[in-house]
Amino acid sequence: MASTHVTKRAKYKTTIKDPGTPGTLRMTFEKILFVPHNPKSAGKLDVEFRYIKGQKHTKEGSNKPPWLNLTNNQNGSFIFEFENYSDLQECRDFVGKVLAKGGEVSEKPTVAYPDEQLSAAEMELRIKLLQEDSELQKLHKQFVLSGVLTETEFWATRKKLLDREVSKKTKQRLGFKSAMISDIKPSTDGRTNKVTFNLTPEVILQIFAEKPAVHRAFLSYVPNKMSERTFWTKYFRAEYLHSTKNSIAAAAEAAEDEELAVFLKQDDILASEAQKKIRQVDPTLDMEADEGDDYTHLPDHGIFREGNKEMTESQNELYKRSLSQDINRHAAVVLEGRAVDVELEDTKAVAEALAQSKQKSSNKGESDGDISRERLDRLSRMTEIEDLQGPNTLPLAPLCIKDPRDYFDSQQANALRTSGDALGGIEQIKCGLSTQEVYGSLRESISSIKAMGLKEPIVKPEVAHQVFDALTNSISNTKYHIGKNPQESVLDRLPRKTKEELLHHWTSILELLKHFWASYPITTTYLYAKVNRLKDAMSNIYPQLEEIKGSVPSELRHQVSLLVRPMHQALDAAIQHYEASMQKRSAQSGERPNGYV
């Protein structure tokens, strides 16, 4: 944006509560000009930029409208509300640029607002990460907003999360449940023969997706021809008839009730869709093409085999739907994933959104010319023999572990289950290596690499395996060790609140310690200030831990204190180190006042 001015529609507010005057905001390098649409209304503004000291703005994704707050050197402020966030960003960037230019004018450099140096995209990314991960958000709130850590410090240790490539991956969308719709079991009141089905919009969406004919019927019948209630009553009536596996009764009922018949009949939309899909099927498994080539499958040619050439017996067949068909259809729908992303509240809305997305995808299908291309690619992939040639990278979806704790817990449980009591051996892993030993082994491996080059694989499989085993066994193992039963964790027995507090303290202590240890050796004033801040924050945790200990019932107190002990130890070590280095410092430069380097 090299332009010398920005012009946007915006509302000018004198205070936050002011509804605002609509008008046009024009900013140049020199001044800010606001002209209301209504020339009669007050609120015309003409301020020179040199009076502006800083800016604040609302974050996208917060529930606030896009506001830009410009503070002047008299501590007054001008608030502008924009129509959308992109306008806001443009103006914000512009202001940032101007302020940076006139840096010598403003007394405080932009450091106080580290956000301003970020591009809009980076900012968005951080916000998104915080929104997705509630634990991260908690930490951010606790440390950054309270000033223990600065924004930059907080994110500096999480560079990996900010990596553009990683974050570019699409967010995982929630799919359908793996349970079948037929698993919806009615509840009975026990006295009468009446049964009640509980339908949620979620279930309804699944029904619509798996049974396009029901979807179509819903769109055309409800609410003009029948109420939604009657519609679903009829549907479940049909399902009941189907579940009795009595196709004759079903046929009889269908003959009487036209609408009921819709639910009982074979789904004609599915059949036509199948015809369409079969053309795009992988040619290496296209058995339908075989059928077209097979001259022994003229009716009655070849040997009659059990179940192979049975002919349809009667027209009742029309009302017979096999479980296999249902299962196949269900799996196909689950695999396709959810096409609709609307808030599931209103059935009608769900039905319409689904219809729309289908329309879209069918349009896309028709215009899509490279389907045959893809088919050919798949074919050639299927024919190549992989180990006779170089490796072929397959398109892989990156694994996204939302909550590492869940993952390691389940791994831990598995490891415990398989290797029952083999845990005793783990403690013997030798940790105390002397410096000489470490150095020696490092030299050795470097010289071996020099001599032979890097081997594939770099780490011996057995070693890698051992390390992983040890890791899965020891990660969160206290949790299981203290409990008597390996399946049950100590944490699970604690009250929910205590458990969460404990876990939260753990993560926050870890965060603090990480920053603390990373600051040593202290070389700048900045680091010195940081360490002090961190130390204060750490010493605040002690009473909180005591509080937790006190809050649990006495029978659990011992276990909680066992859990708290490592936290204490870690904090103690840090503070000890802090004090030791402080003494050293003051010894070196005895008369220097505290806080000055």
Binding site: A289, P299, L335
Partner: protein, 739 residues
Amino acid sequence: MKFQIEDVTVFFPYDYIYPEQYSYMIELKRALDAKGHCLLEMPTGTGKTIALLSLITSYSLSEPETSIKLIYCTRTVHEMEKTLAELKLLHNYQIKHLGPQARLLAIGLSSRKNLCVNPTVLAAENRDSVDAGCRKLTASWVRAMAAENPNVPTCQFFENYERAASAAVLPPGVYTLQDLRVFGKEKGWCPYFLARHMVQFANVVVYSYQYLLDPKVAGIISKEMQKESVVVFDEAHNIDNVCIEALSVSVRRQTLEGATRNLNRISQEIDRFKATDASRLRAEYNRLVEGLALRGNLPITDNWLSNPALPDDILKEAVPGNIRRAEHFLHVLRRLVQYLRGRLDTENVEKESPVSFVASINSHAGIDQKTLKFCYDRLHSLMLTLEITDTDEFLHIQTICDFATLVGTYDPILQLSCHDASLAIKPVFDRFQSVVITSGTLSPIDLYPRLLNFHPVVSRSFTMSLTRDCICPMVLTRGSDQLPVSTKFDMRSDPGVVRNYGKLLLEMVSVVPDGIVCFFVSYSYMDGIINTWNDSGILKEIMQHKLVFIETQDVVETTLALDNYRKACDCGRGAVFFSVARGKVAEGIDFDRHYGRLVIMFGVPFQYTLGKILLARLEYLRDTFQIKEGDFLTFDALRQAAQCVGRVIRSKADYGMMIFADKRYSRHDKRSKLPSWILSHLRDVNLNLSTDMALHIAKEFLRKMAQPYEKIGGSGRKTLLSEEDLEKMGDGGMDEMLY
């Protein structure tokens, strides 16, 4: 890579080659040199097809003057496509290294249904309606009519093709069916007739078994192949059954009803022609007096399936006088249908040899053997004369005539069923100099020459040299509760067995990644067990781990289910596929790599032993080949089982487990019939497992397989050979390296 086998330079499109592929080529070359037939067994996952293709094409490149044609028969269309894709890869490689002299023409051949590009014809559902739809637009009389009346619809693609005449040729290259369609669309020529025309010029023709084995089809398509051709039957373990099917017909009540309707329609047509165009019928009569040997002159579009009897068996003689007139022939057919209906009305199963059956027709319906023999051709001729294009409506009467002709010529029941597999394949062995029969499972290898009645010059079974133990067969005899599991007739519906099978699958889906395939012994058993699992909630639990797809009797549905299954495995969701041994999926679909990390064979897939046809066949085998019934049944069941589980390995980098879940597999007489490459990995400790033990082994195995390994093969034996290795071997010491 490029290497020498004796005097032939072989071009192989990969950087490495498996030692067994190399020895396979050597054996194959010996058979070609000796101009004799051969029988080669090599486990799946060792790249048979590419080895075979590269040897034969290289062989013919080294002897340009003889121009060997390769006729490659596959069982299914998708295997055909796969073979052609491999050939394409090879062809590109050869062109790159040899230049234009390596050019060849390779085409796949299939029915109109799979080749037609005319959208109006293609809209029809099945093959027969597509055939009929095509005839309606392209039959000689329709086109003659269209020449006079522009309102008569014709097929634009065929007209263009006809107009281009001799200019309509395919440039050299490898054409899959898809490529043929694309080419046809581009040029505006009918791909079906173009491909049929190009068969005589092609160096490699890939088509279905039946185009060579079924006399009805072979008569039209394969008659022009020269003696020097090399015929390959790939995946030939079921070849005896295909041969038998080609010559078997069954007649049911519906068939007879349909036939009667057809006859009425024909009679109306005859009456119509008599009134309007009597000369046609007279002309036909004259033609018939001269004999049926006029087929060659028919326009290509009027070609029909030819006579179901084998070419040498039908005498080159005139049609018997009593059926030359259309009305008389119609009467004969009516009497025949009447007689068959009478025979169908019996309560008991009767087994008769064709000779006595023909004699009985003669005495009851007054139709002699010779008349029966000509039924099929006579009907064909009549339908041409009557200008009937909607051939799909007339399938029933075709079946009857088919039946009549076969019964008049050979041995066959009202299910005319052929028991002698060698009958259909005999002309193939006689006509071509080299016939190669190859498959992953041809054990016991000495049985096939007897079943098919031929003498191979080379008959060899190769083992697989594995870099690591990448297959893990297990025999599971008990559930976790130690109760035996089996699909033996008295046990299969036992709730305990069904539950234990369910528990087995449930445990496995929770530890095995990606795809799992389950085979059941029959459709009805599979339906039953799935319903029980659904009611007891096991199915729901399985679905928590993997998506479930099921083979049904509807081919379209099954194909889509398979496609989705692959997608689910590709995207990492994981899936289970339920299939049936002897079903279509078991016959031809690969579950290699992540598409099948585990195959569970629930039960032993014995044939339905109470079937009358099977009993008759067993009796025939006992009397002719001295093969004991029990032995044959076990052989057949185990070859099916091996076939089902054998499709999990595609290469040596691949791995998979196989569970044989039936206590009967632990018996030596059953187990020993499995192919050696499975047996050699079946350790004694894995012979009598319960569910929890199998689960433990599976976990260990998967963990082991997930580790990286040395691809070339470690200590001593090499499992991948590079060009240098092969050169070194040329200097001697080959055997020590290979085995």
